[in-house]
Every structure is written in structure tokens, then in C-alpha cells.
């Protein structure tokens, strides 16, 4: 289990995050839902160790050693997060060069990921030569190659058109079902949160506080059809009412 405990963060005098606490059980997907620019990305950066909190801590329970939490990040905009001077394959391999020193071993690992994601046909193309969906799938592949303790996704579907986003969500769920790794996903889409997450954490605007945490017990493996069901309807209502009450 990963515990986020009382995180506070401000930039100068501007408070960004206020006393953020929640738990991510092993193999859970947690969605962070809230207005734009409310510090969700800052929170991801803190969890990833790319930014420092003013107070509070990120704790990983039952870890054998006391090494830092390792995180696999996927960013919203694949045009920046993927490196256009490297092929899809090169981009995935980049996640391994610091840890896997032997070239054949690295090649083997990259091959595994390429096969898992079905990217064989595109592996020697450059990111700008493939669709946004495939680019973002490659970005997932790169996070996969890191084999981290937790995946951190910052609106990974929001730069895609609706169809590609749906397709990529299915692909992601299928991947996730295999190794059930803890995941935090920032999203603006209620349906995305309902489809993917076990817990939906609703944030207020700046400074960001947690307004509510809604659990989502729709049985897995999930499919798009379930988005129309009673249970998901109830969750949707709840999220909307919380978001609305905050507006007033």
C-alpha cells in the first residue's frame, strides 16, 4: 500500500495543495478529478519525486528495502514526452538504459514490451509518423519498461480524439489486468474515472483540498457497456452533485 499523508505545497505565497491524504491499495487505480490548474499535476510530480512537498510524506508500506518509491510517468502530451529523434523502439529502450547495462538483455526486454503492446509494425517509426493513440500507447510502453512501483498518468487520454481515447482506455485496462499495478490517473472526464478507477478523489480549486473520495465497485474486468449501468449512473450523480455544490 502507498500512503499519501498530509501533503502541503505552495509556490511562494500561493498555496497549491492543502493537507492532501489518501491511500492507494496494491493493485488499485485511483482517479484524481478536479478543476484545471488545481495542483493535481503538482501532486503527481511530488509522488514521482520530481518536486518537493513543503510538509507531509509519501510512504510505501511493506516494501522490502527502503529505496525511494519508483514511478512510471505518462504525460498528457505525447508530442513532448516522447522524443522525436528516437524511434518508438528507441523511446521505450530509453527507460532501460540506466538500469539494464547489457545490450542483448535490454533488446530482449524491449521486444517483450513491443509484443505486449502489439507495436511491432510501428517500432521503427518515429513518434511523429504514427497516430496520437499509438504515440500515447508507446508512452505507456515506456512506463511499463520502467517496471515501477506505481504508474502516474497525467491526463493521458485528453490530447486524443474521443474514439482514440476510448480505444486506448481499453488497451490500457487490458494491460493493467495482467499485472494489476497501482495507478494514479489525473482526469477531467467522469466517464474515464468511472471506467478506470477503484477510487475517485474529488479535488477543489486552488488551494486544492480533497472534497470527497468515492469508491467505485463496478466489477472488473470492465467494459464500456457498464458505463450505462445503474451503478455507474449513481456514481456519476454523486460526482456531479459534489462538483456542483462546490461551484455554489
Amino acid at each position: 500500500m502507498i500512503k499519501v499523508i498530509g501533503i502541503n505545497k505552495s509556490y511562494g505565497t500561493a498555496a497549491i495543495l492543502q493537507n492532501i491524504s489518501f491511500d492507494i491499495s496494491d493493485g488499485q487505480i485511483v482517479a484524481l478529478f478536479g478543476p484545471n490548474g488545481c495542483g493535481k499535476t503538482t501532486l503527481l510530480k511530488i509522488i514521482a519525486g520530481l518536486d518537493k512537498q513543503d510538509s507531509g510524506e509519501i510512504k510505501q508500506l511493506n516494501k522490502s528495502d527502503d529505496s525511494d518509491l519508483s514511478a512510471g510517468l505518462v504525460f498528457q502530451d505525447h508530442r513532448f514526452s516522447l522524443l522525436p529523434w528516437m524511434t518508438i523502439r528507441g523511446n521505450i529502450e530509453l527507460a532501460l538504459i540506466s538500469r539494464v547495462k547489457s545490450k542483448p538483455e535490454r533488446e530482449e526486454k524491449v521486444n517483450q514490451i513491443i509484443n505486449r503492446l502489439n507495436l511491432g509494425k510501428h517500432q521503427y517509426k518515429y513518434p511523429y509518423q504514427v497516430s496520437g493513440g499509438l504515440s500515447q500507447l508507446s508512452a505507456f510502453g515506456r512506463a511499463l519498461a520502467l517496471n515501477p512501483d506505481i504508474y502516474l498518468f497525467d491526463e493521458p487520454f485528453s490530447a486524443l480524439d474521443y474514439q482514440s481515447a476510448l480505444k486506448l482506455q481499453q488497451q490500457f485496462l487490458a494491460l493493467w489486468e495482467k499485472d494489476k499495478k497501482s495507478t494514479i490517473i489525473v482526469t477531467h472526464s467522469i466517464d474515464e474515472a468511472i471506467l478506470l478507477a477503484d477510487q475517485i478523489i474529488i479535488f477543489s480549486g486552488l488551494p486544492a483540498k480533497i472534497l470527497d473520495i468515492i469508491s467505485n465497485n463496478i466489477p472488473r474486468p470492465r467494459s464500456l457497456e457498464q458505463l450505462g449501468g445503474d451503478l455507474s449512473q449513481r456514481i456519476r450523480q454523486k460526482i456531479i452533485s459534489i462538483a456542483q455544490s462546490f461551484l455554489i
Binding site: 514521482a48 510517468l73 502530451d77 514526452s81 522524443l83 530509453l94 538500469r99 518515429y126 511523429y128
Partner: protein
């Protein structure tokens, strides 16, 4: 009709009109020799002329200057990676760049004598300025997300530099090199015209001018145009192949 065919037809039309004007003596033949005389002069540049030594001398100055200048400029640019003193450096480079390089020639001649050293040093000087400013802009504009990616993928300092920062700056560096090529050709030709030297395309233009071999003078000028155009074209071809991610 392809573009170069159109341009060829335009050249033929210009030559034909020139021919008619020269034959009918509307244009003074001494100043505007008819095209067939220029073509024959062009032929004689290569057969029995010194033109190959001239091209060699000009290219030697051009490429040594470009090579050393680019290397120095890129190194100076990269030395601002930690952003310390960057704005101070930009001021000095901008100031020195604002002085037309030809105006500095007397200083170089006084300091370094009339030989090759002073000629090539002026080219190096100009190229270094152009290359360092372009390299600085290249690394100044590095995308923050890509730096986060490098950190998230646990790249070490050298890997971050060689796999992320340098490739990101390369489009800027390459455009600096393109400017440098055109610019140093101008500088080399001007130096050759102003400073005594045995060989060099600029020298050939001046010599033919002074001996009033006007057809040969035109032939050398056209040759310089062809060389400048080809060197640029070849570079752009190389650039689109090697720095394929420009604008992607």
C-alpha cells in the same frame, strides 16, 4: 512541368534576350559580353585556367573556418547549460555580431599578418558568434516535460545531455550552421578580394576585373553562385535527413 525545368527555360530566355541585345549592340558589348562568350570563358576557366586551385583555396578557408568556428561556438553555447552568465554572454555576442565582419578585417590583418591565419581566423570568429548564439537559444528553449522525462527514466547527467538536451538543441544548432555556411562564403570571398593572395575565387573576380577580361569575370561570378547554391542545397538535404525532427 517540374520546377527546375521552368527555371531552366527562364535561364534560356534570359540568355536569349541578352544575346539579342548584345548582338544588336543595344548593350555595350565591353560591359555585357554576349552569353556565348561567357560560356566559352567558363570553359576556359577549367581548361588551362587556375580555377581548380581557386576553388580549392576558397573551400579550404571556408571549411577550416566553418569546422573550427562551429566547434568553438557549440562549446561556448553549451557552457551556458547551467544558465550562469548566460544573459551577459548573449549581450557580448550580440554586440560583436552587430559589427560587420568585413570591418574587423584590418584588426585581424594588423594582429595576425597578411597570411592565411588572419583570413581563416576572421571566418572562425564570425562562425563562432553565429554558432554560439544559436546553441544558446537551442538549450534555452529545452522543453521542461522532456527534462522531467529524463529524470523519471533515471538518466544520468551524460545520458540526459546526449539523449535529451543535445538532440533538442540540434535543430537550432543546425540552423546556425546553415546561416554560417552562407555567411562564411561571403566573408571568404570578400577577404580574397581585399587581401592579396595567389588563389581564391574572390581573387579571380578582382583579377579579371583589373585585366578587363569581363567575360571571364562574369564566368567566375556565375561559378561562385553555382557553388554557393549547391553547398546550401547539399546542406539542407543533409539536414532534413539527419535532423529529421525539425518542426515535428
Amino acid at each position: 512541368m517540374s520546377n527546375w525545368k521552368k527555371q531552366l527555360i527562364i535561364i534560356l530566355i534570359i540568355a536569349w534576350v541578352w544575346f539579342l541585345l548584345a548582338e544588336s549592340e543595344i548593350l555595350p558589348v565591353l560591359l555585357f559580353p554576349p552569353p556565348q562568350k561567357i560560356i566559352s570563358a567558363f570553359w576556359h576557366l577549367f581548361v588551362g585556367g587556375t580555377i581548380l586551385s581557386d576553388i580549392g583555396a576558397t573551400f579550404m578557408r571556408l571549411f577550416i573556418g566553418l569546422g573550427i568556428g562551429s566547434l568553438l561556438g557549440i562549446l561556448i553555447g553549451l557552457s551556458t547549460l547551467k544558465s550562469k552568465g548566460r544573459s551577459g554572454l548573449i549581450f557580448w555576442i550580440d554586440f560583436l555580431r552587430s559589427i560587420p565582419a568585413a570591418a574587423l578585417l584590418p584588426i585581424f590583418l594588423l594582429l595576425l599578418g597578411l597570411g592565411e591565419i588572419s583570413k581563416i581566423t576572421l571566418v572562425i570568429f564570425s562562425v563562432t558568434l553565429i554558432m554560439s548564439i544559436n546553441t544558446i537559444y537551442g538549450i534555452k528553449n529545452i522543453n521542461n516535460i522532456r527534462l522531467m522525462v529524463a529524470k523519471n527514466l533515471l538518466l544520468n547527467t551524460w545520458q540526459t545531455f546526449s539523449k535529451v538536451i543535445f538532440p533538442e538543441a540540434l535543430p537550432h544548432i543546425s540552423s546556425g550552421l546553415r546561416q554560417s555556411i552562407s555567411f562564411s562564403l561571403i566573408i571568404v570571398i570578400v577577404i580574397e578580394m581585399l587581401v592579396s593572395t595567389e588563389y581564391g575565387l574572390g581573387r579571380r573576380v578582382v583579377d579579371y576585373h583589373l585585366t578587363f577580361e569581363i567575360s571571364s569575370m562574369y564566368a567566375v561570378i556565375i561559378l561562385i553562385g553555382i557553388i554557393g547554391y549547391s553547398v546550401n542545397k547539399i546542406y539542407v538535404l543533409l539536414e532534413t535527413k539527419k535532423v529529421h525532427w525539425i518542426g515535428k
